[in-house]
Symmetry: C2
Subunit: 526 residues, 2 copies
């Protein structure tokens, strides 16, 4: 497989005829890779028509075939080696080891979805028996299974060119659910998107699926995104990115004659609460872990710990000196795109211009294109509460420390926070009486709560919740990482008195798929 | 308990100070019951403040206490006898037997939610064990449980003054999930709402819960609804009613700084497909069942079968003659409100004025206030496809028959349909080869598929899906009837390395609640 700057429309590879663009290598600010032509409106229509054609047959594929398809995608991505690392590295500025690691994570995630499909864990079929003699009226035979919503549009993230992009969790969970996918490549890494798209295209072919199961579109601007989200054929949207981007898609989706769900993961500031006893007993350990988490991947993670909340004290001053010094000594890192770097620099400048703000890191100029330096600021809780902009996410390795007066102040700050992907409590055992009331408030603020760790590093597993109350995610009842991500693209259907021959196999009377099912309110033992 | 025209704000009973109104007895067009004052903006704020205060303690009640609370509500409603029937009858025109039946259904539904809470069936706790030795990085201990979204605003339906109103499925599923509820009474039955609200208020007191767990507001207009849905404290909305009403709430909810989910069940036309062999062999049985379903409750059901789709034939003509005659002989029925009657009469007039339309029932004038007569129309499939208004719901006992040419035509009609609560296939065994391709399309169009039955009559059970693709419901992934209705008001939280003392009991290490849990990808046996 070799990239050629082509859209993937089903099994076809086509040059887009709208305005063209190239990737920028953020380390050099030079163009890199092939020229991509944006998809035309007709290309979008074609991808949508193909997805519709594919939907009926694809949604009814057996678990075994669907799982095999996912495994085949994993296999083809596994085969991509130096070329992938070279392309992804030149488009993102990410080091080779990170890309290799993310590739492994992506393959692991695909295999997990294959396993979940194979095991039937993605569904909870249910049956309520007919009660022909019930008074005053008999009860019919009722069963519940699931159908996919329909074709899904996926918009990948800039910061995970593999794990949250063309073959990332959104695409794979939709495919696992039985939904065709039309992916719109992120402009920051079109080559990476294309090579991964080719791997999926090949897997569709290998498994003899309808070509419309997967298409990949490129676009220099926002027209393709708007057309996709407004297209009557598209029934759901997966998105990872900025709040502005997610909200734009949500508006388009809500304005349709038939509104559709947008599952947007929009990031957050991921508050870390450092409690007083831990500050006394574990300051060094904390400083080291916090700096590593804050600067990991140049701070370009949704779960970057951009807010540190602690009770003011001389120990806190000492800690902030220590963190400031560690950050000062950290190597500068190339950010993903010139735009992301500019945005980081502007937000840091805005923080630097604030009154009542202490800066714990020196201001350094970039010595190479798009290189950022980590920043640490601190403010009083009063200043923080009075200035909403201080609680906004800064995408990059910058953090604001809120100096609280006491537990009540911390609780007050907590209640004022918007929804978060994660919140972290850093405690010593002697902090637990203080942790408890905080914990009760924090449960209502985030999708994931951590103790004595750092939020970067999102496990791909059954229990993961990568989401949270708005604006961390558009729908707090869902997760974009882990096996439950499949649920977003499914809806239940109730079958009443359906003849055996027409029933979906998941709810047939002999339980031919050997699934765990809810039978008259109790789970069967299989 | 006796109604007095008062708002219920927590444990207080207060006279609303905004514009006042009274219920109208639709059988007489006369006012009935006490005068209700609309809630002021301050009353709404007070209800919201109370709900917020109640949320932390209520969400953490034990399953036993919460289930006992629901059972206590059921008990107090069970005690209401003649007074309830008298009040509800005078406000809705519904016969006593229907109100008694709906009361039984409502109590049964409440007890089901109590049982679901008690059994733990509403949640699927999950645990992924720590893997301290995993390479390249250890895996932390991860667990998943659920928290309620927060206080819920409920807007009941006109057509089920008990089962889909103040103590209906939305209120009870939210209370079961651990969410306080602020109910806005439907103006058509304020007295019924108040007496039921008093039963819930008493149960809150009996169980020594925070008074803010439940409030009931009245309003002559839409101000209270707008304020509630826009209020930052409200985190979700349950609604049953018209598409226009649901969409208005959705717009308010989407325009908030923090958008919230609106679970709106907005009705549909519930197409019934009568296949050719069944038309030959079961015409009499079908005509009888169809007329009973169409006229039940004066056709004022969300699941009323307002669309009949069949292949044109002399047998179909004979059937429509038969149905027309049966409908002509049906007793006229009082509709729920003067507004609903006017709307029905207007929509029927609009259908009567169409070209290319056959009318199979005589046009009769009302002989008593708000009494409707059933109507049956038929059109060609071509006319139906060219006139979108023919597929709109008529709330009342009116149906449109679509005369198709063949199976392809039926499939074409099916693909053109909007989302439905239900679709029905009426078949003989010899129709099954035709039923199969239809079935595959129908699965994608509705929340419930029935065979050889009629859609009115919604079972309250685990498998029920009362919802469907838009515009049948605002979120097709949910149901407003049955045990799964609880899920709408919950979101998952992931707990990472949380000390045992702080873990919610559902995910503690000893499984002290004895719940079915997903442990490292497999269900425990308990």
């Amino acid at each position: 497989m070799s990239i050629a700057g082509k859209l993937l429309l089903g099994q076809d590879q086509i040059q887009g005829q709208e305005s063209s663009f190239q990737a920028i290598n953020p380390a050099t600010n030079k163009e890199t890779g092939p020229v991509y032509g944006s998809a035309t409106s007709a290309d979008v229509d074609r991808a949508c028509a193909l997805a519709t054609e594919a939907f009926q047959s694809y949604r009814q594929t057996s678990a075994e075939l669907r799982a095999h398809f996912l495994d085949t995608i994993a296999h083809h991505i596994e085969q991509l080696d130096d070329e992938l690392v070279t392309i992804a590295g030149s488009e993102t500025g990410l080091p080779a080891a990170r890309i290799q690691g993310e590739k492994g994570r992506t393959i692991g995630q695909i295999k997990m979805f294959a396993e979940v499909v194979r095991s039937g864990l993605w569904q909870t079929p249910a049956l309520d028996s007919a009660l022909p003699d019930r008074q005053p009226l008999p009860r019919p035979d009722l069963r519940r299974s699931y159908v996919p919503l329909g074709p899904v549009a996926v918009f990948g993230a800039s910061n995970f060119p593999l794990a949250f992009s063309v073959a990332g969790g959104d695409t794979l969970s939709a495919l696992a659910a039985g939904a065709p996918v039309i992916a719109k490549a992120h402009n920051a890494h079109p080559g990476t998107s294309e090579i991964i798209g080719l791997a999926i295209q090949q897997a569709v072919k290998d498994c003899d699926l309808h070509p419309g199961v997967f298409s990949l579109l490129f676009d220099q601007g926002f027209e393709v995104a708007q057309q996709l989200v407004s297209h009557p054929v598209i029934k759901a949207v997966g998105f990872t990115g900025s709040q502005a981007g997610g909200e734009a898609l949500m508006k388009h989706a809500a304005a349709r004659p038939e509104p559709i769900p947008v599952f947007a993961e929009m990031g957050s500031t991921n508050p870390v609460y450092l409690l007083p006893e831990a500050l006394k007993t574990k300051a060094g350990e904390f400083a080291e872990g916090y700096c590593a988490s804050l600067t990991m991947g140049a701070g370009q993670f949704c779960t970057n710990p951009g807010l540190l909340i602690a009770i003011d004290s001389p120990e806190l001053d000492a800690l902030l000196d220590d963190i400031g010094q560690r950050l000062d000594e950290a190597e500068p890192q190339t950010m993903l795109t010139p735009g992301i770097f500019r945005n980081y620099a502007q937000k840091v400048d805005k923080l630097l211009s604030k009154n009542d703000m202490t800066v714990h890191t020196p201001c350094k100029s970039a010595i190479a294109p798009n290189q950022c330096h980590p920043m640490l600021f601190s403010v009083s809780s009063e200043t923080f509460l009075n200035d909403k902009t201080l609680s906004e996410e800064v995408f990059g390795p910058s953090a604001v420390v809120v100096r609280c007066t006491d537990l009540e102040d911390m609780l007050h700050i907590t209640r004022s926070l918007e929804g978060q992907l994660t919140v972290t409590l850093y405690c010593d055992e002697n902090d637990h009486s203080m942790a408890k009331p905080l914990f009760q408030e924090l449960e209502l603020k985030a999708g994931r709560i951590l103790f004595n760790g750092f939020p970067t590093g999102v496990e791909v597993c059954h229990t993961m919740v990568h989401g949270g109350p708005y604006p961390a995610a558009s729908d707090s009842r869902t997760t974009s990482v882990g096996s439950s991500a499949i649920q977003r693209f499914l809806r239940p259907v109730c079958y009443q008195n359906i003849p055996e021959a027409l029933l979906p196999p998941a709810i047939d009377s002999q339980n031919s798929l050997n699934l765990r099912r809810l039978q008259d309110g109790s789970y069967n033992d299989r």
